[in-house]
Symmetry: C2
Subunit: 469 residues, 2 copies
């Protein structure tokens, strides 16, 4: 049942019921009221318009008699299908346009930012969600802490401590709707004129995000350990955005030595910060988990950012950051001007998910799942002569393949495309497209495809690339 906003002129010569009649008729003709849709009851509409019910009745009756409406006793009035073609054009066209652009007809897509579509812990989620909505804690529906629910923040602290070696208390945690939102908050917190250094190549979306927010962003090149400290120092940046645990897209793990160099850079001047994006640290298939950079920090210089989007589902918009105490204090001043961005229900779900061990179980499952795919690709890569080296193995959900000498990314991409395979050339992650390439390489993400599909895709890729260079 819709609410109708009918402009009535009491003083006009046209009778009220006719004004109502005209309005509804035109709405139906304009398809603003769709066939089958229910209309307000005569009582509701009369109340709303401050007219008598019989006035509305009269209008409805006439509409019924003319076939615009159908009356169902004791249920309501419903719009009829007029089987005519008024104004179909506009809205429908825009609609189809929005739906179209999606797929480009690839048989296999090695998407790098995807997740396993069947990985969502649907049953656990449903169970917890039901449980939460069952207990009628009316607090759940009032506005919560803008920093995030205390209990969730405590659960995150505990998780981060054990799984990532992050040292924090709940006061330092800020929960927000996605990494981009947290970056927006950070932008406000650090000040808009903060110059930010980023690795190159890097996660473009964060780059764009900072740019849109008006920051000066400087790309700093990497050696095999990660961002070059000397270049960082020379850049004059006040903050450096890094991915020490598993750099995107290069996949390198930053060794301790380099971490300490970065920490030294940060502590050298007050107000310098390292922004650690720990986007896919959950997935590590071999060797010890690498503790987060934040855990080494003795000087309150690291801002740690993590997310549940990668490990649970991208559509679940929950990320968190760990602020150094000084920034956390500044946040409490500014943060009260921005209310929470994550539904309290969802926060509660995640909290229980963490606390009751669902998350650990889920992660174990996903890790096994991804490890299978990861190993499968590596096995297939062994025979692939067109690939000279593999980077970023043993972690995350993508690999970087360095092409053998003479092969170009463009050629590799094109050959793959002809075979119906989408691969992701490395150079598109360079911020400066003109930048000299260190190597020719393509990225393969393996999260979205199942093992059967991956096998097929790898075989097809090998064939496609066999004649390369």
């Amino acid at each position: 049942m819709k609410e109708l906003l009918i402009p009535l002129e009491h003083k006009a010569k046209i009778p009220l019921y006719e004004q109502i009649y005209n309005y509804i008729k035109s709405e139906i003709q304009k398809k603003m009221i769709l066939p089958g849709e229910s209309l307000p009851s005569s009582r509701a509409l009369s109340r709303q318009l401050s007219v008598s019910r019989s006035t509305v009745d009269l209008a409805y009756e006439q509409l019924v008699s003319e076939g615009y409406l159908e009356s169902v006793p004791c249920k309501g009035y419903y719009a009829c299908d007029m089987e005519e073609l008024f104004h179909l054009g506009e809205v429908k066209e825009i609609k189809s346009k929005a739906f179209e652009r999606k797929k480009e007809n690839y048989l296999y897509d090695f998407a790098v930012n995807g997740i396993d579509p069947n990985g969502f812990p649907q049953n656990a989620w449903k169970k917890i969600s039901k449980q939460i909505l069952g207990e009628d804690d009316t607090n759940l529906f009032l506005l919560g802490d803008s920093q995030g629910e205390w209990e969730l923040r405590e659960a995150i602290v505990s998780y981060l401590h054990h799984a990532r070696g992050v040292e924090a208390v709940a006061d330092q945690i800020v929960v927000g709707a996605g990494n981009d939102y947290l970056l927006m908050l950070l932008s406000v917190l650090l000040g808009r004129d903060t110059r930010i250094a980023m690795e190159s190549p890097t996660y473009k979306s964060a780059w764009n995000c900072f740019k849109s927010l008006g920051h000066e962003v400087i790309s700093v090149s990497m050696d095999e350990s990660g961002m070059r400290p000397g270049e960082l120092e020379a850049s004059g940046a006040q903050a450096a955005y890094v991915m020490p645990s598993h750099q995107f897209p290069m996949g390198m793990v930053m060794p301790i030595k380099r971490r300490l160099q970065l920490l030294n850079w940060a502590k050298k001047r007050p107000g310098r910060y390292l922004i650690e994006d720990d986007y896919d640290s959950e997935f590590r298939y071999k060797g010890k988990p690498v503790p987060a950079l934040q855990g080494y920090d003795q000087d309150e210089t690291v801002i740690y950012i993590g997310t549940f989007s990668k490990a649970i589902a991208p559509s679940i918009r929950i990320s968190y950051m760990v602020l150094p105490q000084s920034l956390a204090q500044a946040y409490r001043e500014i943060g009260k001007n921005f209310s929470a961005t994550v539904s309290r229900v969802d926060q509660k779900i995640i909290e229980i998910f963490l606390r009751e061990g669902y998350f650990e179980r889920h992660l174990n499952r996903m890790r096994a799942l991804y490890k299978g795919k990861h190993d499968l690709i590596l096995k297939n890569l062994k025979d692939m002569t067109s690939v000279s080296r593999v980077f970023g193995e043993n972690a995350g959900v993508h690999l970087l393949l360095q092409l053998k000498k003479g092969a170009t990314e463009e050629k590799a991409e094109e050959l793959a495309k002809e075979a119906g395979i989408k691969v992701y050339p490395l150079h598109q992650y360079y911020v400066d497209q003109g930048q000299k390439r260190d190597m020719e390489a393509v990225l393969l993400g393996y999260a979205t495809m199942d093992e059967k599909l991956i096998s097929e895709a790898m075989e097809a890729l090998q064939n496609a690339w066999s004649g390369m260079a």
Copy 2:
């Protein structure tokens, strides 16, 4: 089962098993591992740490013998309750601090921004949520459109058209996690140096939000029709934030004439915008619903902002704005740098809520509920000699009471406080606290209390104020 991140020194003199033992022991003492919590299996931990299983076994055995752990055959190791008080201080203390500041021991609180705590359509929500999580549409867990799901935006378009007279297509809608987030987006879209005019008194949170984002914000005074157009013109602002349907806190409805004046102001120079905050338009108890300002706009100058926080629940962080076509186009450029902020599941729930008529039914129920409270307060106010006039009746969920001559807001607040009643003096909504007051008045919000409580509170208030001035 937790993941443990134990820093092992292979070269150190301390045996490996002792390092493990020490770490876990200290974790339990620090309460980072809570009693009853399960530990990783010896196999899992040994794999993780790349040490032999017997090393882990040795460490666990010692911990069991010392009572830190309990071993349950065929299940795992569990932390024991030590009944001791290590390090309880820090975390616990902060915790209680966060929980404390809440209530100040008022018997009755006429909170102005609350909602009825029992108003949440729990059953419908649960039903829809169950239904959605039931159908396994894996799309639901992938990252969605940053502008909001198309279907939801269409549902919003239809709702806004019928209920608010807003003219828009889905392309113009942007869905985001709360009004504040949308204001952040707007800030990026309009540019940070956009000077923004706001009504005075106004909704302080929006004011603070703009300020935090670095905008110059100018307060423009109001007459009985709302924001003064002359003063607005003179302010040099490029955007004006207004609440035409039911101004907060004054409660006035902006008459057509003033609306047209504002629209004229906006169209006079390109790049001028009116930001219409339609925060509680759903609640109108008498007379025709007032169409939104956006519906009168012929020149693409109005940015309409609405929310589900007020009508459904504040903790549900879903708001939307309607951008003029030109801005919508600009948004599509910039917006792709900021991913969605609302969970796709929640978007789907709201969509069905709108489309299947739950929302209308819910609104009707809430309107009836609030109307009851509204009428009850008005009835009680009739006998209250200390109140000379009531503003903002017939809409929203709060009233503004002008005090009789000679009474001050401070006195009224204090007398109420002594009787255990929290009322909200008008002057605190003035942006410039030093500004001359037009009148002495207090706000009464009636959403959170039930009718019985309201009756009691009104009686108590009458007594408390009887001796005023």
